[in-house]
Amino acid sequence: MITFSFDGKSYTAREGDTLAAALLRNGVGLVGRSFKYHRPRGIMTAGVEEPNALVTIGEGGRTEPNTRATDVFVYEGLVAKSQNRWPNLSFDVGSVLGLAAPALSAGFYYKTFFGSAKKWMFYEYFIRKAAGLGNAPTQTDPDRFSQRAAFCDLLVIGAGPAGMQAAVEAAEVGKRVILVEQDNILAPSLLRDPQAQDAAWIKATAERIRAAGGRILTRTTASGYWEHDLVTLTQRIAEPGQIPPHNVAQCLWHVRAGHVILATGSIERPMAFAHNDRPGVMLSQAVRTYVQRFGVVPGKRAVIATNNDDAYKTAQALKDAGAHIVAIIDARPAPAGAGSGFRVYNNAVPLSTKGARHCLKSVTALVDDKTVSWDADLMAVSGGFTPVVHLHMQAGGTLDWNEHAQAFVPAASRQNVTTIGGAADPQAIFKMVPVSSPKKSFIDFQNDVTLADVDLAWAEGYRSVEHLKRYTTLGMATDQGKLSNMAALGRLAEKQGVAIPEAGLTTFRPPYTPVTMGLIAGAGAKDAGAHIRRLALYDLHAAKNPIWQPLGYWFRPRAYPTGGETLAQAALREAKAVRNNVGMTDVSTLAKFEISGPDAAAFLEIICATTVSKLAVGRGRYTFMLREDGVVFDDGTVWRLDENRYLLTSSTGGADRMATHISYVRQVLCPQMRVSAVNVQEHYAGIAVAGPKAKSVLATLIGEEPPRHMSTVPASIAGVPVIILAASYSGERAFEIYVDASQAEAVWAACETQVNEVGGALYGLEAMEFLRIEKGHLVVGGEVDGRMTPHDLALDKMLNKAGGYVGASGLARPALAETRRRQLVGLEAIEGDIPEGAMLVTQEGASPVGHVSAAAFRIIEGGSVALGQLTDGFARHGEELIATSPTRGQKARVRVVVPHFYDAAGERYRD
């Protein structure tokens, strides 16, 4: 015996019970409330198509709202709660909405609640509160969700007898086979309807499949059929709300199959008649499942309504279990049902039900144009069978109309998929048309859509099946229209006076059944799939407890505060160390490419918009790269390490983009070149040493005269080979030291010792930003914003006059040469501090003429300075503007100046 609770009351269940079976076993008939009118609802089905019996399972971060009671197996301690009711399930204040139903027809909200948007929001507040079903958890999910790939020759979906047979045959001829069953046992239909195969056959067949290397996954639903025979499977490792082993609650399988067999069976259809939604009205096969598989008899006096033979098995099962079959209402003319031993009424269709205290009391039918009523506490309904063609259709397959079964069946597919069993060949039924009052004849039970709603949509011109669905919300509930679709199509066809296949067809898209969001996210739920990239020197930085700053997926030290410094204080101290003394920083994340071969220089002159080939061995230069449309997209430096070997650096943020660009040019545009372009971004860690004392620090470290500005030499520090590039971003004499990342710690330590020796400091990105702004250096993502040309950034004098670089054609576009373009300027505060990102306006209230792309302070003298983009900025030096940030309530008066605030002549680079 298993103990569980529902709405706070404790019950017991048997091993293997679904929650629905357990509730019925305990005589609980009222389980939920409908979405719109809050009508009392019970258990209607025994499967994933259940529209009514939705409950919230579990507690805390494992709470799963809207769980179908028919699709959760009871475990010890399961906690279930009813939902969409207040104050409780049997007395729900929301059910007053049912009284207003005559006014709340389909799409009523389109026709009222006029007035301003604010007024609508007032009404909407109440509508939103009434809508929804369960409550989402508010705590963090304590479990993980796994995602796995699998490959097979054959994937069989549905482990009924047909599916198992197909799986074993393939496995035993050496194929890789996966067999999937959404129930927690194989061949569950054999428990409902005992057949030739028995439990022993199931066990033996499963063993044969496994012995042949096949994989069997139960409690696993094929939820999506995607391109090229990729099928996603959702596997429940733990039941909803249950604490899973190893913290993994579910697994999402991505299965690439050579061939897919769908043995997915069919779903029984309800019938449309008045008050067909009352607790106690159930689908026939569901009733049989509860009786035969679970040993639960959901009623004592049963009326069966059917249009086919299958429901007679239900009658027999009920009778065998001791229930009284009051009547069988068979839509078919005599002699259908004759000889069954039951009281059969032919030419009979259900009209309505009556109830009391949320239980069924009586059923009324139309028999040969006469009304007949019976007292009953259970009604088992079979309106025919809808093949589960969802996956076939998701795969892009078409459907055929099967007149005997009044159902769509799979036809051609462009993927390697075959449907077998009941899904391909459903049982024959008798076509019937609803005759009862459409107003209370529900077809979408959860969303409370009635035949009258379909009729209204039709009358108002919403006649395509998609309009109908959208106008009435039919099929939009958590059961995804599994029960309602055919009823709606039938009514639509009736209105149009055409056959169902001509009335239209809705498309099935994934998922087949709703899929837990955490499972879709998988491991990505924790970090959005954006893994942090860890610096080679991470441990050394972390030991200093810096303030970190994200840059793309990297995190880099922003500043190294000491003694309670704020970020700004630390950054200013660090920047001053660079200006006055020496500082060192980690520049490892810069993009780096090693370009080798006889055509290396020629190749670089395609990538770079500046000249390269004139560089002598051991020399380097600033360079920038253009997109094909002529816009600047990155900048960096290029160094000639050897006769045929160059090192190209570019920005961290653009590294991946630049790597792709270089590969594209190499592989697609210049396949004939004799060149090797290797991405060495992570191979080399980089350490920058900058400041007036940088040269002497370097000299000590390498034991020789450091290279002059824009020169490079190989050297050795702490016994480790390094490359020294004499380059400066800060505006001071500076060096970048590149070293194999696996040996970088020793080099960093040696540098740090020397820097400390002379009283220098580590500096982070914030100080670097101060330094480069003051110097007037560009940053990709700031001044280089993907909209500026070399001319706009005053880089045009550096363009390779010979052309031939990527972007040369783009630069020739006429609008790029017109006036009124934004151009790079410097800004100097006259009054106030310049807010970064502020708009530049000529006067209060005017539309902006530019913006502040980066703002900082003069490091030594103080005073707010900035870089910006300004319309026709080159011609506006000296002009006064306002830099205003209304969102922050900040502004400054500024003067437009040349964008160099520090050592414009570059004298500090000279030794």
Binding site: E227, L230, D629, V668
Partner: protein, 87 residues
């Protein structure tokens, strides 16, 4: 998620590949400026078959032309692009 048969690696999941551009948008380095910009900025964009440049970025890093139907995702051809094919 589609599956592409990489000319070098065989059948691989689309997740290993990155779409880069259509073949009709490839601007040769020596294209005249006017043609270059028209090529860069306009596409056939057929509701049918087109030649696309994809890269096996998370695999062998090679570039290839994939001929694909934009509605059915049927792949009719894949050919390698790049330096002299090495075996």
């Amino acid at each position: 998620m589609m599956q592409f048969t990489c000319p070098h690696c065989g059948p691989r999941a689309q997740a290993e590949f990155v779409y880069e551009r259509t073949v009709d948008s490839v601007v040769a380095l020596d294209a005249p400026p006017e043609d270059a910009m028209r090529t860069l900025f306009t596409r056939n964009n057929p509701r049918g078959v087109d030649d696309e440049i994809w890269r096996h970025t998370y695999g062998c890093r090679a570039w290839m032309v994939i001929t694909r139907h934009r509605v059915t995702n049927e792949i009719s051809a894949i050919r390698a692009v790049g330096p002299e094919a090495l075996t």
